[in-house]
Symmetry: C2
Subunit: 439 residues, 2 copies
C-alpha cells in the first residue's frame, strides 16, 4: 500500500468504527431505551438481588448492555477507586433559571431522521443524566435510570480532557516541556513506541503508535489495555502486562501512522505518567489540589485504579453531572469559577485554539467535519467556538462559548462509538444553544 | 467432652486467640512501629511505585504486615466500595480545646510493663489516627503513617456497631421483631445454622453456629468467609460460596455453642440482611439516610462490597477518624448530635445496659473481665459506664460517659487480636479519662 492508500484504509476503518461499530459485548438486538431502564429491569434491586438480576465485575456482566445502564452509575462499587477530594470549602451554588421550553424544543437530526424534541433525543440516546447551564445557571436538568443529582457516573474518556488540561497547566508553568522527548521524563519508555515522541505529540495523540481502539475488533489493543489495567477481568491464564504503565512499555510503533492523529487511550495514561513525574503526585492528588478542591464541587470525584493502584487517566473518572458541569463552566469562563482563577486563560486558549485540522480530517470522523484535537479536547472550529470532552457510550461536556452554554451529559448507549448518536445529539445541543441565544 | 470441659476448651482457645494470636500473614518478627511507618518504608511512593514497593489486592500483599500500615488507609483503592453519602448539609464543627498535658500523661499498663506516656502507648501500638473528644471538643488529635485528618481508614469490626445500632433502631420502631425467628425475614436461611435462631440472638451473637474467628487457624471459617465476600483474593479453583449471603446459607450448627456468646462476623452480615429485608434498602443507604447525612460528617463514608455488590456489614466501613468521633459523640449524648435527635435514647440505653455478663464471661476474654456484648457493642459495666466498638488490629470507638469522653482510634497493629494491645490501650484511655475529669 502506498501512503495515500494506507491513509484511506485507516480512515475508512476509523470512520466505520466511529460511525456505528457496536461495542463488542452489545447484543445484536439491543433493548430500546425505555425497555432497558435499569430500575424497570430490576438490576441490583432486591435484598439481595436475584442471581439473574445481579451485575458483577468478575464475570464481565457489568460491561454488557443493558447491565451497563446500572453499572455506569455504580462504577466504584465494581472497580477499586481512589478518591479526588473536594476539599473542605463551600459548595459553589449553581443558580437555577429553568427554561420550560427546552424539553419540547424541536430540531432536525443530521441523519435524515424525522424532526424530534430535545427530550425525545435524550431518551432515544440512553441519557442517564444531563445538566444544561446558560450563563452559569441551570436551565435544564434531568436524571434517568439509576442516576440522581447526587450520584456519580463513569465519565469514560471525558476523563482525558481533565488530564489534558492539567498537562497543559504544567506546560504553562514550565514544569513540562512540550518539545521534550517523553523519555526525558520516563526513561522506561525508551524501547517502546513512545521512544521517539515528544510530550506535545502525546498531548495531541499524534504519537504514531500501534494501538487500535476498535471496540468491534476483539484483537484490538484496547482490549489488552483494559485487561492490563484491570478495567475488565482477565481470561484464565492471562500473562500480559499487569498495569497501564507496563502495557505502555510494550507499545509498538506503526510506521504508517507517523504524524497522524489517532485516538488512542494509552496516550492519556502516558500523559498521566508524565504528570506524575513532573509533580511527584498521583493524577488524582493533582486534580484535587489544582481543580477539584477549588471548584466548589458538591462531591468528591473518584478514579478507577488498576491492580497496582495507578489511576486510569484514560477513562476512570467518576463524578456527578453537576460537578462535571461546574468544570465545564470554569472552562467556558476562561478558567475562572467560584470567585477565583483556577486555570490560566492561556491554558484554555491553547485548548480552544485547537489542533491541526488537516491532520484530524485524515482520521475520517464522519460526524466531526472540520474539528481538531488538542490537549485531549475535541475542538469544533464552528461559528460558536464549540469545544467538547467526549467519552464512549455518550459521555460529554459540550461547551458553546457564543451561546454561553455548557452541557454535561452522561449516557449508557449500547454502542461505544459516539458517531452513532452524534447526528442526533450534536444538532440537539446546537438547537438548545440557538434557543438560549434568542433571549 | 462434657459441657464444662467443652466450654473451658472453647474459652481457652478464644482467650489464646484474643490474648496474642498473630494474624495469619504476620511475619514472625514484625518490624517495630517506627520501622514499619508506611511513608518511611516507601509503600506506594514513586511515580509509579517500584514493584517491591507496590501494595496489591490481587496477590494478597495488601493484607500482609507491614503493607497493612498503608492499605488500611487506602481500602477503597484496593476493594470496590459503595458510598455512604454525607448528604448536603453543613459540617458539624468539632470545636477545639487542645490539652497539651495528654501526650505526656503517664500511666501504668496492665501487663506488668513499665510506666509509659499516652503518646508512647499510641506509637507502640501502631496508631494511625486518633481523636479524643471531651465534652464534644477535640482535646487531642494525631495522625501518623499514611493518615491525615481528611483521609479514611478501614474500621474493621467497628463497622458492626454501626449496623447493630441501626438494627436496634428498627427494633425500636417495630420494623424488626427481636423475638421473631430470623427465617421469618430470611426464609433462605431455613436449612442453615440460622434456621432456629431469633433476631435477638443474631444481634447479640448467641446464635450457636459453627464459625471460628481464629485468625491464627488457616482452616477457620473466617478465611472462607472473607474469600466468599471477596475481601481476600481466592485461591485458584475456588468453588466455595460466591458472596456473604451464600456463605451464611452454608453455616452449620455447633451443638456445643448453644446459648453461648461467640464473636462471629457472619452474624453481622445476617444482621445486615435482616436490615435490608426490613427496609428494602441496602445497609449503606440506610446508614446514610438515618445517621451519616444527619451527623454533619466531613466526608462520605464508604463500605467495601462483595463481588455481588453486597456491603460488608461485618467489617467494611471506611471513614475518617473525625467522623467516627462524631458518631461516638452522638452515642455519648444519648443519640443527640448536630442539633437533633438522630437515634432514640431508648436505643442507646439498650446498648449501654449491655448483655448477659455471665454468658460473656464464659467466652474467656482475659482482657475484658466483667464486660458484655449487646447490639454489636462491647459494654464494660465499669464505674465509668464505658462502652466500645472494637475492630481487629486496633480500631475502636471508646466512649466514657462519666468522663464525657469519646475516643476514635485507627491502628494497623501486626496482630489482629485486640487482646494484645488492650493491656496497654485500655489503661491509657482510662488515664486520659481520669485526667480530663480532674478539671
Amino acid at each position: 500500500m502506498n501512503k495515500i492508500q494506507t491513509i484511506k484504509t485507516i480512515s475508512a476503518a476509523i470512520a466505520l468504527l466511529f460511525a456505528g461499530a457496536a461495542m463488542a459485548q452489545a447484543p445484536a438486538a439491543a433493548p430500546d431505551p425505555a425497555a432497558s431502564d435499569p430500575v424497570a429491569m430490576g438490576w441490583m434491586q432486591g435484598s439481595p438481588p436475584a442471581a439473574d438480576k445481579t451485575v458483577r465485575w468478575v464475570d464481565g456482566s457489568f460491561y454488557k448492555f443493558p447491565q451497563t445502564r446500572w453499572s455506569f452509575a455504580h462504577w466504584n462499587q465494581l472497580i477499586p477507586s481512589s478518591d479526588v477530594w473536594r476539599g473542605d470549602g463551600k459548595v459553589a451554588a449553581l443558580p437555577r433559571a429553568e427554561r420550560k421550553d427546552i424539553a419540547g424544543l424541536s430540531f432536525q437530526p443530521a441523519n435524515g431522521g424525522a424532526t424530534m424534541t430535545f427530550e425525545q433525543a435524550l431518551a432515544a440516546n440512553y441519557t442517564d443524566a444531563i445538566v444544561v447551564l446558560h450563563k452559569g445557571r441551570i436551565v435544564y436538568e434531568k436524571y434517568a435510570g439509576a442516576m440522581t443529582p447526587h450520584t456519580r457516573h463513569i465519565a469514560m474518556s471525558v476523563t482525558k480532557s481533565f488530564f489534558g488540561t492539567l498537562g497543559e497547566m504544567l506546560v504553562n508553568e514550565g514544569k513540562l516541556d512540550p518539545g521534550a522527548m517523553v523519555t526525558q521524563y520516563i526513561p522506561e519508555l525508551k524501547d517502546s513506541g513512545f521512544g521517539d515522541v515528544t510530550v506535545r505529540q502525546v498531548m495531541d495523540m499524534t504519537t504514531g503508535i500501534k494501538f487500535s481502539e476498535n471496540y468491534a475488533d476483539p484483537n484490538a489493543e484496547i482490549w489488552t489495555y483494559v485487561r492490563a489495567g484491570s478495567v475488565l477481568p482477565r481470561p484464565a491464564g492471562y500473562t500480559g502486562p499487569q498495569n497501564f504503565y507496563d502495557f505502555a512499555k510494550t507499545v509498538q510503533k506503526d510506521p504508517e501512522a507517523a504524524g497522524a492523529f489517532r485516538y488512542q487511550t494509552v496516550n492519556t495514561d502516558v500523559m498521566g505518567w508524565l504528570i506524575r513525574r513532573a509533580t511527584n503526585k498521583t493524577v488524582g492528588e493533582l486534580l484535587s489540589e489544582r481543580i477539584w478542591s477549588r471548584l466548589g464541587t458538591e462531591r468528591d470525584a473518584m478514579i478507577a485504579v488498576d491492580s497496582a493502584g495507578n489511576e486510569f487517566a484514560g477513562g476512570g473518572l467518576i463524578l456527578t453531572a453537576r460537578d462535571m458541569a461546574r468544570f465545564g463552566e470554569m472552562m467556558r469562563k476562561d478558567g475562572k469559577f467560584n470567585g477565583q482563577a483556577i486555570i490560566p486563560k492561556a491554558v484554555v486558549d491553547d485548548i480552544r485554539n485547537g489542533g491541526d485540522r488537516a491532520v484530524f480530517a485524515r482520521a475520517g470522523y464522519a460526524t466531526l467535519p472540520g474539528w481538531s484535537y488538542r490537549d485531549m479536547w475535541w475542538i469544533s472550529h464552528d461559528d460558536h467556538g464549540v469545544f467538547a470532552a467526549r467519552g464512549v457510550h455518550g459521555q460529554t461536556i459540550y461547551i458553546d462559548p457564543k451561546a454561553e452554554m455548557v452541557i454535561a451529559r452522561f449516557a449508557s448507549a449500547p454502542q461505544a462509538a459516539n458517531g452513532v448518536s452524534d447526528p442526533v445529539m450534536l444538532p440537539a445541543f446546537r438547537a438548545v444553544a440557538d434557543r438560549l441565544m434568542r433571549r
